[in-house]
């Protein structure tokens, strides 16, 4: 196990290196001169040349990469082309918002998806199962931006019961100790801010949770069905164990293994989905930031944030793999 863990961890290095090359090349392959985008319609050629030189865009691309990667190793993701602020600092300030949203979404997806999957498998081909399958199919195929807009329209504009965006009501001043709004509100004992933050979280979390929820429900169902047909389940039933004990103690535990992998994989999906969700709900996390930066061609931010997100996905997948090996002793990687 330890050898496996070390070997598996080492594979992360070339992956990240490759990702950095890819991200760097993609960002630089995007047509359009960032200098011109920054300066706009009124730019003089001299100004454009000056800005290009300042950004190092006049150097050969490999030199730009070497310089960039060296800085990344020191935790320096460069400075924003538009605002001149350090990307790393901004990234860390915005990351909590994305984590808060992604966590809420994944918790929602697990809390609803797994019970639905279990119910669907246990009462296979019942009305509940059909509805759940239909719901899951719809959920998987639903474009997030459409769902987000509809949720905001229905609950925000029509019913006016939930806010259409942001993390807090306008003008609220909550000292950003950790930038996790709910944590900050709790630590500062500001219960109205906490309730406000929760209200703001509902719609974006729901929108972001839909796809992972549907996938988790489908995966749980399939996995449960597989396990329920195994002989040891029949043995357990024959021993006279209650149906509840059989399902929850014997079947579910084993059925959850593949679900765990799926949940791990969903983290990447969630971060990708966050770009849309955050844009629709003006949620000030990394997704919205990246979206705005793509528009303003702030390639330093796009590059830094993409690298950061890629690193998180790689690490989460690594952790999932290691957990998988730890949880299931039959699995050996040699």
């Amino acid at each position: 196990m330890r050898r496996y863990a070390i070997r598996r961890s080492l594979t992360v290095v070339p992956v990240l290196l490759g990702v950095s090359v890819l991200v760097f090349s993609f960002v630089h392959m995007i047509p359009g001169d960032p200098a011109l985008t920054m300066l706009g319609e009124r730019a003089t050629p001299e100004k454009v040349a000056e800005v290009r030189a300042r950004l190092g865009l006049d150097r050969p691309i490999w030199q730009q990469y070497v310089l960039y990667f060296g800085n990344v190793l020191h935790g320096d993701l460069g400075v924003s082309v538009v605002r001149g602020d350090p990307v790393t600092t901004d990234l860390l300030r915005r990351f909590p918002a994305t984590v808060e949203l992604a966590l809420a979404a994944i918790v929602l997806a697990i809390a609803i998806g797994i019970p639905i999957g279990i119910g669907s498998a246990v009462w296979r081909n019942s009305l509940l199962d059909s509805l759940a399958r239909l719901g899951a199919l719809t959920g998987v195929s639903m474009p997030i931006f459409w769902l987000g807009l509809m949720l905001a329209w229905f609950f925000g504009v029509r019913l006016r019961v939930l806010p259409t965006g942001f993390r807090l009501e306008s003008g609220t001043t909550l000292v950003p100790w950790t930038n996790f709004v709910m944590l900050d509100a709790t630590l500062q004992g500001d219960w109205s801010a906490l309730a406000d933050a929760l209200r703001h979280l509902v719609l974006p979390a729901l929108a972001l949770a839909t796809i992972p929820l549907a996938i988790i429900a489908r995966m749980t169902r399939a996995s449960m069905l597989d396990v329920l047909s195994r002989e040891y389940i029949r043995t357990a039933e024959a021993k006279g164990l209650s149906r509840r004990a059989v399902i929850l103690r014997h079947a579910l535990r084993n059925a959850l293994l593949p679900v765990l992998t799926v949940i791990g994989l969903q983290v990447g999906q969630l971060l990708a989905g966050a770009i849309l969700t955050e844009t629709i709900f003006s949620w000030p996390g990394i997704g919205l930031w990246v979206y705005e930066s793509i528009e303003s061609r702030d390639y330093a931010i796009v590059q830094g944030a993409s690298l950061f997100i890629a690193a998180i996905v790689v690490v989460v997948n690594l952790v999932t793999d290691l957990l998988y090996a730890a949880v299931d002793p039959r699995i050996k990687y040699e």
């Binding site: 047509p31 800005v51 915005r94 925000g156 504009v157 006016r160 939930l162 003006s282 705005e292």
Partner: protein, 533 residues
């Protein structure tokens, strides 16, 4: 039981109706994130909306016009030769940090903009900022500038001497970039001043939550009409529909950036009102004069007669557009009311093409170097106030042209590439436009036509036109200048140098209870007149 109580508490917290924004707070929905709040170095409208509340200039635009009136300067006089301007400052005005607004502070600001060696200029340049508008409006820095001296000639009197008269001098000074900052605060924060702005304005800066909102509060010591609402929050809501949703939900009180299709939605909503910003923007089609066919005036005239501008404006501007007959929008004082536009007439267009020896129509062009290619009509990939639906507008124009026998292929590219290609004179036929900065006709016409043959302008060469414009720049009497600008528009029209399609009055939407918001043609509005009923 405990679970039930907890659940109902959570439900109560979540479903408690959204608190309507308070009557003391005006919440405005902006289209994006500000860059920073140092007025001297910013160039974008989102940032300047904030700086206009925090800072004042020596002079300002009056109400919804581009006429200039006093702000920090109570009055001023100009020498008969138009070179020496003397400004008398309003007494007892203080910056938000308590330091006095006096002649020394104003001179300090001028020197910061003007002198490259000024420590608070130099540090900005080293940090990658530029004093772009100073350079553009006043000819450059140090010796290159049209300004030759700025002196304090008393505690509250400032004298600015120019090397030669500059007609739009006051209009330039009224632009947001020349608002006066507290020297003490700039020195304290250096390049970070843009995050800690200190001016004399009706509102003072409180907080900027990145990607979320900017909070301002009323300045009780403001020298002018005191702010009617105590707090202003400008929220960044990127998506147009989402912003309208927030307005309808009562989360914000006003917004910019309405989709043309949503104009009707706002009009039909009993809780909302629509305000139009006076037009200060013109969308046009430009020819590339390296294309042989476009060197023939009859071909350009055929284009002018082929496009049904009225139909385009009626169908695609949500009721806020106007047919443009010339480059300047009608609100500008150099506008030529006598000018008679080309009538829409496909048959006339065909006749002109026949006359030009192109009875079979036009679908292929020949570049100067002999290279032939299909006629590609480039349209913008990004919506701008002058062309809010660029793709649909381009399709409509292409259909009109086709009726007259001009077959174009529509093409677009990413915005930055588009600007790049246009700048380098690589596109044969393209759409673009302009939004005025200061209400002066010079700002519309000279940038485009004072340098004959510029690649950026499709190599359009009209020397007599440039001469008229350069002459108008140096005169000091408005009436004389207006005459020259009217003449310039006529010359441009007679030469069919470019096709002016539409002006737009960008729509803004507000809750019914908002009163006193005065949309300004330059897009920079003061919030101190706003009240919530």
């Amino acid at each position: 039981m405990r679970l039930a109580t907890f659940t109902s508490l959570v439900a109560l917290a979540l479903l408690g109706a959204v608190a309507p924004a308070s009557a003391q707070t005006f919440v405005f929905g902006a289209q994006g994130e500000p860059v920073q709040f140092d007025p001297a170095v910013i160039t974008d409208g989102i940032s300047s909306r904030i700086t206009r509340q925090v800072f004042d200039g020596l002079v300002k635009y009056k109400g919804a016009t581009t006429e200039v009136e006093g702000a920090l300067a109570e009055k001023w006089e100009v020498s008969p030769d138009g070179r020496v301007w003397t400004f008398r400052l309003r007494p007892n005005v203080k910056f938000h940090d308590g330091t006095p607004l006096d002649a020394a502070a104003v001179v300090w600001n001028f020197e910061r903009w003007w002198k490259a060696s000024h420590p608070q200029h130099d540090n900005q340049v080293k940090a990658g900022q530029t004093f772009e508008y100073w350079e553009a409006q006043f000819g450059g820095f140090d010796d290159q500038s049209i300004v030759s001296a700025v002196e304090a000639v008393g505690s509250h009197t400032v004298r600015v001497t120019l090397k030669e008269p500059q007609a739009p001098f006051l209009a330039n000074l009224a632009m947001f970039v020349f608002d006066i900052a507290s020297p003490k605060a700039v020195e304290r924060w250096g390049t970070d001043f843009g995050k800690h702005p200190v001016g004399t304005g009706a509102y003072r800066f409180v907080e900027w939550k990145p990607n979320q909102e900017v909070i301002l509060e009323a300045n009780p010591d403001f020298w002018g009409p005191k702010a009617k609402v105590k707090r202003v929050v400008v929220r960044n809501i990127k998506d147009n529909s989402q912003r309208l949703g927030a307005l309808k939900a009562g989360e914000i009180h006003g917004m910019e950036g309405l989709n043309p299709d949503d104009v009707a939605v706002v009009k039909g909503d009993a809780n909302l009102q629509l305000l139009l910003r006076p037009t200060n923007t013109t969308g046009y089609i430009a020819f590339n004069y390296k294309v042989k066919e476009f060197q023939d005036k009859r071909v350009r005239q055929a284009f002018a007669h082929a496009i049904n501008k009225r139909a385009i404006v009626d169908a695609l501007y949500g009721g806020t557009g106007m047919v443009a007959t010339q480059f300047q929008p009608p609100a500008l004082w150099g506008y030529n009311r006598e000018l008679k536009d080309f009538e829409y007439s496909p048959s006339k267009a065909q006749a002109l093409l026949r006359e030009a020896g192109r009875a079979q129509g036009l679908s292929e062009i020949t570049w100067d170097d002999g290279k032939k290619e299909p006629l590609i009509f480039w349209y913008m990939s990004r919506s701008r106030p002058y062309f809010p639906n660029p793709k649909e507008i381009a399709e409509a124009m292409a259909a009109d042209l086709a009726k007259a026998g001009i077959k174009t292929q529509l093409q677009t590219t990413e915005w930055a590439v588009y600007l790049d290609k246009r700048k380098n004179g690589q596109v044969p036929l393209y759409m673009l436009g302009w939004t005025g900065d200061n209400g002066d006709p010079d700002n519309f016409l000279c940038y485009f036509f004072c340098q004959p043959g510029a690649a950026r302008e499709g190599f359009y060469t009209n020397k007599p036109l440039a001469d008229v414009l350069l002459r108008a720049q140096k005169l000091t009497t408005l009436a004389d200048r207006a005459k020259l600008y009217r003449q310039a528009e006529q010359m441009l029209h007679d030469d069919v140098g470019r096709l002016f399609i539409a002006n737009n009055q960008p729509p803004l939407a507000f809750a019914k209870r908002v009163r006193g918001y005065v949309p300004h043609p330059t897009g920079s509005e003061y919030f101190n007149t706003v009240e919530l009923q």
